[in-house]
Structures are given as structure tokens and as C-alpha cells.
Amino acid sequence: MIKTIPMAAAVGLFFTILYFLMAILAPWIAPYGVAEVVGDVWEPSSADYWLGTDNIGRDLLTRMIYGGRTTIFIATVATFISFTTGSILGFLAAVMGGWVDQVLSRFVDLIMSIPPLIFALVVLSVMPVTVPVLVLVMGFLDSTRVFRLSRAVAADINVMDFVEAAKLRGEGRGWVIFREILPNALSPLVAEMGLRFIFMVLFISTLSFLGLGIQPPAADWGGIVKENADGINYGIGAALYPAIAIATLAISVNLVADWILNRTTSLKGGRG
């Protein structure tokens, strides 16, 4: 499997693993404390501060590492929530049909008719902005898209003869969903997961940039952009580092997702 991995996917996989490792190992690899003021404002990069310092003199590399940790953690958990709720409800709607499908689908249409960012801003302005609330709001809003995808995929599989054979055998809904449909719906869902993860990264970064995401002094990539945005006026590129990080993570995860999709697209198993 590793031997036949294409170049693009290998590069993507390398950076994805690198970012995740940095996120997990942050307290051990970060040179300074996350909120520790170590130098002057916006110092250029040097042997002590590889990426320089930020708008109040904290080490930017440390902020970036901790920021990545927060961003990736929140995006991962939110993706997980979005996928479990979205796909289970989507499968249920496809398998049960009738009014269950109608109620769920119309409710999802309703939610999707409101732009997610506006919706999130409204919810977060009346609720305390804590990590659990953030993760739940993001996961819930995003699960509508997963619902749509998994419902469509499951509706296709649900009419195939092997599912009918299982129903004729008398199998319950649990078996039909988890043993007959889920294994065949996995590859489009996994590929979508990569994409949704990236949207989560962008979403949390946007929220933080607008001040409704991660609250200081904790760091996250969107927040770092916001804190250092003024520096751009003075020719200081501190805000560009998190932007580059977001971009490379997005591209890398997508390259991996593309590869997984390519490998497993066919319903007949393997590549075909």
C-alpha cells in the first residue's frame, strides 16, 4: 500500500502527519510558554525566535505550534460530531423513508438555508464562547452537509438487490445500516471527511478572526492572524505564517483524501 502511493499523496501525507504530530507534542516541542512575553514587539526572526515575535512580544513559533494544536483539535472533534450525527441520521432517513425522511430532510434544508457563519455568529453571541460550545455548534451546522451526502449515497445502495435480500431475510435496521450500507458508503464519506475537516479549520479560524472563536490568551491560527493583522501595514509578515499553515494543511489533507477516494471508489472493492 505504501509502495504504490503516488507522489502527491505522499507529500500530502507527510505534511498532514507532521501537523498532527506537532499538535499532539506541542508542550514538548514548543520553545517557550504560550502566553509568555519573551521579547520586543514584532522582532524579526532570529536564532532565539525562529519566526520572530508577535504583536506583544510572544514567540511566534510557540504561538503557531499551540495554535495548530487548538485548531486541529477543535476541527477534529467537530468533524467527528458532524460525521456521526450526519451520517447516522442520513442513513436512517434513506432506509426508513416516508415521514422520517421528510421531517429530517426538510429540517436540514431549513438549517442550510441560513448561511452557517451568520448562524454561528448569532448562536455564539448569546452563548458563552467555550470550546465545547464551539465544537458543538460547528459540528451541528456542518452535519447538515454530511446528512445530505450520506442520505444520497445510502439511498443509492438501499435499492440494490443485496439490501433487499437482507430485508427479505428479516434483518433489522441496525444490520442493514451498519453491515450492508455503511461498508459500501465508506469511501465517499472518508473522502468527504477530508474536505469537511478543512472547512472546519477554515470555520474556526474565521470565527477566531472575528473574535468569537478561541479567546485569548489561548492561541489558534485564526486568532494569530487577527492579532498580527496590523503588522502588515508596517511590512511585518507575522500574520502570513498562520495563513500559510492553514493553506498547507488544507492542501495536504485534500491530497490524502483524493488518494483514498481514488483507491476505493469502485463498489466492487479495491481499485477497478
Binding site: T4, L168, N184, L267
Partner: protein, 546 residues
Amino acid sequence: MSSDTLVKVRGLKIGATVYPPDAAPHDIDIVHGVDFELERGKVLGLIGESGAGKSTIGLATMAYGRGGVKITGGEVWINGRDILKSRLRDVRRLRGGEVTYVSQSAAASFNPAKKIMDQVVEASVEHGKFSRRKAEKRAVELFRKLGLPEPDKIGNRYPHQVSGGQLQRCMTALALCPEPELVVFDEPTTALDVTTQIDVLMAIKEAIRDTGVAAIYITHDLAVVAQVSDDIMVLKMGEKVEYGTAEQIINAPREEYTKALVSVRSIEHEEKVPSPEPVLRCQNITARYTGTNFDVLHNVSVDLSPGQTLAVVGESGSGKSTLARVITGLLPPSTGRIEFAGRTLAPDLPSRSREDLRELQMIYQMADVAMNPRQTVGTIIGRPLEFYFGMRGEKKRKRIQELLDQIEMGAGFIDRYPAELSGGQKQRVCIARALAADPKLIICDEVTSALDPLVADGILKLLLNLQKVENVAYLFITHDLATVRAIADSIAVMYQGKVVRYGTKSEVMSPPFDDYTDLLLSSVPEMKLGWLEEVIANRKMESAGN
């Protein structure tokens, strides 16, 4: 090379790259050096099972390889030019102008967004053979020649507005319109009902004769190819098995393989006397699909004795598959009752007992979608054992082995995935899955129609043997009367949702016939020359496709 020779193929080799799931991609040969010649105005039949390379050879006469297929060697001479050495520009002039192609599925080949006429004249106009007006005139002539209704107006319809048989004839018109030298027919009647097939076949035959075009006719059905061809080439695994005149191949085949193909469908089955206590009794069943306002089944009553086979015969749309859905409980009937093994079955699936479900199993037409591609053969066969009998571990594995032996497949298949099986093996696994439930009745929905004739024969023999051993009854849904002759004890002929003839096999198959049964019986291609003309001359009833 005589002056009349149009096509000359020498040592044609065709290869492709395969991507096995657990090995590196590599090249394989799919056609290993085939030679043949074709004179102007003659028809060559290419016959063989799937994977024999028939279509690949047919397309090679247009210097075309489908989806990664490459012509790796040999010569293809058309009209004195080796087209494999021609420049792409010349090949382009050849395709759709000098050599045209009729594919198996007209429905999938026509552009649904364009009118039929626009598509029929396109090649002639693009190749500069005729002006638009002249091409349309010729198309109307061809429509008339092919027996299409309203030849002046049918070109204004969209592909979905004509029937399958008509669309197939439109495609023949499309192929003949630019006055080609050679037409390649790739299984043009395989997707059609028997009664429609015969009309299309006759239309194609007459059109070939009238236009004096040469043709390559590709099919897996020897009886069909014998009706239209002058010469026949039998292919197997990309190699020529036998090549001769149609008469010689049908009446005096030399090779074993050809003999097997000629004698296919010759299974004989002694019919049993119906017992007074049927295992399945359908009484006055009327059914319709939700959201429609017409009945698909009208007052259908049939009985099936234990350990016997009832064949339900009819064209597509006759309601035979709907009957199966009603019996399985997927479609509750609006009126009527079903008795099964002495008890009345609940009309809908959720209210049936597990015992009812176990004793009534089903085998599907398309074995590859009837099995979950992510489950191994062991899981597929083992699940009913687990579900109905609570078998686990070693006991279950042993029973799976037994079942695999019964379907004449070895124990080595237990951990394989459906994608790693051939078409016939897949259908066998589906049979084993049905048998695993130890049923009293198995509904077989067109179980052999997607298979090659020799493989289908094997499946029918297996089903007959299993019936002897397990005493299971079959409700056998099919459109193929040869299959019916081979396997049935009693027959129900269905037409437009009604049972038009019902009785034991000998009763149903002997005269006097009603018009529909006569049409159906006479439409089954027979392995003899001149059969087609005979049937057309003696017909009493038009087929439903017109």
C-alpha cells in the same frame, strides 16, 4: 485478395493493461492473432462467451480500442488500405463513414437530449456524404425499410419516446444512413424481448440484403447468428476455435466447443405430476404500485407443488417480477391471498414470521448486485445460518463448506470477495445463500439471463440436481422458453398482468395455442438455418414492441 474482398484481417493481436487488486498493473493479451476475410455484401458472425474478444475484434475493424485496449499487432485491411497504419485523419474519415457500428444498448447510445433524426443524419452530413436534406430523405427510406411506424415523423421524436426495439432499429438506420461499406453489429438484439428480437432481426437482415452492405454480426447466441450470417467464426478466450459457413457450423460442427454451443439448451426434464397439496397457492392476486392508478397484476391465481418448478413466462412488463414481489411481501397485494406451506402469509414483509421468511428464499438476476461487495463468500453464505439457526464458529464453517460442495465450488472460495468470482460462480454463491436457509420455496428471478449459454446450462443443471436432493420448489421467472422447457413442471404464461395460459408443461406447450403463447413459443430462436423466415411467414400476432 480477390476484388470482392472488403475486409482482410491478418494476425490481429489486441492487448490491455489490467489492474489486479493485489498486484502491480501489467499487460495481457486479449486477442491472440485472429485472421478472417469478408466479401462485399456478406455477413460474418462472431460468436463466443463474454471475454472471448468478439466486441474487441469488431471495434478493431474501425481501428478503435475501447477503454485502455490497444491493438498490438497484425493488419486490418479495409478496401485495400491497412487502417492500423493510417493516419488519424484517415481513420476518422473511415469511422462513421465507411465503417459504422450498432451497439447493444440503443437506449444508452442515443443522446437523450437530441431528436432521433438529428442523430441519424449526423454522420452522413459531417462526413460530407450527403446534404442534410438528402440524408433526411435517406433516413426516412431506411425507417420505412426497417418497418418503423410513421417513418416520416418518427425522426422528430426523442429517443425516450420510442420503444426499445424501435430504438434499436433507429440505430440500425443511423449506421446504414451514410452508405457504409461495413456495419459492425454488436449484440444488437440481446437486450430485447424474444418477440421483439425477431422483428429487429428480420429488419436488420432485410436491410443488409437490400443495401448490399457487408456486416460483422457479434452475439453470444448461436441460434441468432445462424439466422443472419453467411460465415461464422467461433471465438474463445481471444482465439479462433472454428471458422466456417453458417451451415457447416450449425449442422456439422468439428470442434468440441462448437458442438457444446450448438447443443446448448438441450437439457431435458421429465415433468412431475402436480400434487393436491401445493406449497404455494396464489389466489386472485391483484396488485398495483403505490402512486400509480393501474393494476400491474390482474386476478392472478397459480399453484406450485412441493419439490416442483413453476415457470412464469412473459415479456418485460408482463408483471412476472411483480408477482415475485407480491409473494415475497415487498409489495402487498390490493386483493387476493397467498397460502404458503399450509398457512396464509401476511401480505406485507414486516408482519411475516421469521419462519415464513426462512422458508421462502429468493435468487436474483444480477448476481453481482445481489451480494454485498464488501462481504466474503463465507459471510454471505454464513449469515442465514447464523440468523435463522444460530450457528457459530466451527459448526457454521463446516456447514458453509458443505454448501460450497453442493454448488460444486471448493472450500478455497470461502474467503473470497464477490469481485473475485466469475459470473457463474457468483450465481452459485447466491444459490448457496438461498439453500443455507433450508427453504421450501426459492423464487428464481431470471437467474440465468445474465449468463453465457454454457454457464447458464450449468446453473440449470445444478438447480435441477438440488431440487432432487433438497426437495425444494422453484418459482422460476423467465422470458426464455428454452429455459422453461429445460426446468419446468408447470407453466404460467403472463401477458399484460394476466395469466393467459396455465397448466402442466405438456399442456401449455402443446397446441392448440392462444395467439400470445403461439407468438412467444415461435419467437425463441432455434438452432437451424431459415428458421427466421419460417416464423415470420407463419405469424398470427404482432409483437408488443410494435
